[in-house]
Symmetry: C2
Subunit: 244 residues, 2 copies
Amino acid sequence: MEPTPIRRPRADQARLVADVLRHQIHAGGYPDGLPAEGELASEFFVSRNTVREALAALKAEGLIGRGPKVGTHVAIRKYDHDLDALVGLKATFKGYGEIRNVVRAAIPVAAPPAVANRLQLDPGEEVIFVERLRFLGDLPVSLDMTYLAPDIGAAVLENSLETNDIFALIEEATGHRLGTAALAVEAVAADAHTAALLQVPDGAAVLLLERLTHLDDGRPVDLEYIRMRGDRITLRGNLLRGTS
Amino acid sequence: MEPTPIRRPRADQARLVADVLRHQIHAGGYPDGLPAEGELASEFFVSRNTVREALAALKAEGLIGRGPKVGTHVAIRKYDHDLDALVGLKATFKGYGEIRNVVRAAIPVAAPPAVANRLQLDPGEEVIFVERLRFLGDLPVSLDMTYLAPDIGAAVLENSLETNDIFALIEEATGHRLGTAALAVEAVAADAHTAALLQVPDGAAVLLLERLTHLDDGRPVDLEYIRMRGDRITLRGNLLRGTS
């Protein structure tokens, strides 16, 4: 079989070109700007119109900037969040810069039944609720809502939440290591309030993580709802083929 | 410290209530409908107006339906996709029903440089490109674009792509087990074309997975770009605290 150019509707082709370029960009490709349209067209074996449509999509995502004469440059940087190990944002982003937390709430509240259930407490029992807007430098990247078991929460609150990961504070406060966490990952549209805090457009796609973390003795102590900016964070991990 | 009701801006409280309810719903809670507003208000120690705002958000997401007299019911079901092991959609969804694939393309194409690079081929070398729209029953859940190494792809194409996972076909065709895969997960807005195929509104949040899968001898053979409906699929896995 001879390699043949892709002959398919332009929208399909453009999506493909955009996908490949997007991942090249996130992998740190094109630090000096993207190749010219004609060059991309011949790389991908598609028409220049298809390349233009792909670049328009990436521009709409805010990923690239384009200008007459100046060409196409990468406009946004995306950051990798480790999906293999249980790490806080500060620990996983340590190669990128400093994480700073704006603590929007750190208060005792009565646990709603569903939260009490996950933390193996009685409904209405007191838990510590912490809400943090997390910045990488000046960039808001994540809005985290955390419910902590009462004893753990009280100990954590004795430390600065502005610059530390809660995971580190829990281990410090308890002398225990964390064990495992159950993680759920969803893509949701940002509600107006979340969008304003994270400085993204209303309805922008965000990663919503629900994470229930246990101490190494199996006790669940930390239930978090985390919203990460979809345009800024990629979750990365490795999968292993099991026996099936 | 006495447990105190949460005294915070209503938008913050409503988001919290919505988050907890959302995860209860996805966990299969409330098969007979949600509790009345008054009951939820006292469970969460918030006002009925806050509960109404939370329920309005869940309704906007399409997660619940509400009607006068009939109360509030769960309107949508969400499906869990395994994030711990390397499994195809058919294998991970086998408890939910049959996966059916509409094969939109299955053709040899010249590999764009970025694709060739990931698959350790020369730029322009032939690869097999497969695009599938994947249905769970009648529900479109995922749009998958796959690049396969030429020999693997040719063997895979000898089998029915309509009802099989490509992972299973690769193992059958090669006599090799798959080994590991590198996974990237992003939340992106659906472009118009993707939205039409997946039957979601323009700009709806979708999970975008890039997954490079290797045979057990380490050879990369399968590069996929997968778009999953954010309103229908949750990725679930477990994290382990490493040594750090």
